[in-house]
Amino acid sequence: MSIAAAAPQAAPRQWRKPPFIRDPRLRYAIYVGALIYLVIGIGSVNFNWDRMVAGLDRGIAFVAAFLAPDFTTRWTDISKGLLESLTMTLIATVFGVILSIPVALGAARNLAPWPIYAVCRSIIAVSRAFQEVVIAIVFVAMFGFGPFAGAMTLAFATIGFLGKLLAEDIEDIDRDQVEAIRATGSSWFQLLNYAIQPQVAPRFIGLCVYRLDINFRESAVIGIVGAGGIGATLNTALGRYEYDSAAAILLSIIVIVFIAEYSSGFIRRRFL
């Protein structure tokens, strides 16, 4: 205090946050380059105004159909499709989850030795590399049209999704708790049950419910390429230009996704 008071008043020292890119020439070159790229990029998009105007009518017809969705005419098809999608979703999620657990354990660097880690990470990489629709096309070709190919697709995609996220969660667990259980002389499976499972369970349950939700939405998409379920029904309705039935299908999907959303929130609150 006294030293500061005694010192002569110096000019205030300047401070500014150092820029992310130190060299100003490089910095401005990147800014200008990004701007030019954006302009060229926008210029390269082909807006076909005539086509857009022509399509507008159909778009309006589609939106208008939402105001008067027709649940009754095709109700048997819609309910059958929805039921098929839900069955497909549930089966795929259950099998996907069961298969993803060992994959996740093997893909967690703090649990698995190097060779097992490499194998499990490859399984996850392959599963995540392909979008559901691509896998569905392959499986439809392999197993034929219908919900079986769809269920296989969703189960396969679930392994990659849950395997990766669960493995990352396992890698993030508190090491002290693992050490403490190991110090009691526990076996490997006891370690899993006592030190790892309690730490990852809430997030794991949350992820499973979330994946159930995703799988249902995906089931609508992969149905379009022939993997059964509500997507197939939707595809048929659109093919016949029955926009009111299509609107009914989409509204049903929205309602089910909403229900899934709320129940998943409830389930997560219950388990955290």
Partner: protein, 285 residues
């Protein structure tokens, strides 16, 4: 009881954590291991139950060498080495009872532990220990709902559930307030006396160590530089262990501590009276 000879530990990064350490713990002897951060205290006790693999040396428990042990016998030996941790290391989402029973994992099979169907004798022992550490009213509370002192008591009960021969205690009081620190140290040393357990206690707080144990080992940069009774530990030794510093504060604190201890002693006597039936039971067995 526990005989450490030529224990050396070099981390893969090349840091020498322990340099040819020799240390013998007699049956029922409680040792405080002091030293600056990074001196290798934690590494030393983690080598004993091989949470850390030592580079060289031997650790004999009775007549078996822990260092050269296979997986199965290591598991069996870990049961005899109870460990207590700095941040308690309880499994946060398990209940107090589950945490305490986890001390029996080395004794029971997978399905018994998975279904939480422990033998009645284990459950009796868990209740007895929880009563001893004063937490028998919190059996089904989740561990993360407990205060620091309570968590450490659960940690102690878990370690004792193993029915160990030796306790390895890593900074038991570092996360606790001064009063709770004393209570926990008193509880640990008291339990060691009751059960005739040996213990190695890593501890930062030198006055606290001097107050509660009969033997102090000073570790500096992986080497033992002091081994003797608390009364022999003077400023020169502290300088040797920790480096140059004005130690008069420690000694002043030491004197305050003694006054404190007198008060605490009275409390201890009351506590001992309360614990008397418990002590008798232990003596009888």
């Amino acid at each position: 009881m526990l005989q450490i000879e030529g224990l050396t530990m070099r981390y893969p990064t090349g840091d020498l954590a322990l340099d040819n350490v020799d240390l013998t713990v007699e049956r029922g002897q409680v040792i405080a291991l002091i030293g600056p951060s990074g001196a290798g205290k934690s590494t030393l006790i983690r080598c004993v139950n091989r949470l850390v693999e030592p580079t060289a040396g031997s650790i004999r428990l009775g007549d078996i060498d822990i260092v050269r042990m296979g997986r199965t016998s290591l598991r069996r030996t870990r049961r005899r080495l109870g460990m207590i941790f700095q941040e308690y290391a309880l499994v946060e989402r398990l209940s107090v009872m589950e945490n305490v029973l986890s001390g029996r994992l080395g004794y029971v099979g997978f399905w018994r532990s998975y279904l939480r169907r422990y033998p009645q004798s284990d459950i009796d022992e868990a209740f007895r220990l929880l009563e001893r550490v004063g937490l028998d009213h919190m059996v089904d509370k989740r561990a993360d709902a407990l205060s620091g002192g309570q968590r450490q008591r659960v940690g102690i009960a878990r370690a004792l559930m193993q029915n160990p021969d030796i306790l390895l205690v890593d900074e038991p009081t570092a996360s606790l307030d001064p009063k709770t620190s004393r209570q926990i140290m008193r509880l640990i040393t008291g339990l060691c006396r009751e059960r005739g357990l040996g213990a190695i206690i890593n501890i930062h707080d030198v006055p606290l160590a001097m107050q509660f144990v009969e033997r102090i080992v000073g570790l500096r940069a992986g080497e033992i530089v002091y081994d003797g009774p608390p009364s022999g530990l003077d400023d020169a030794h502290l300088t040797e262990i920790y480096g140059e510093e004005d130690w008069s504060g420690t000694r002043a604190a030491d004197r305050e501590e003694e006054a404190d201890a007198a008060k605490a002693d009275a409390a201890l006597k009351v506590a001992a009276r309360v614990d008397l039936p418990e002590m008798k039971k232990v003596a009888a067995s």
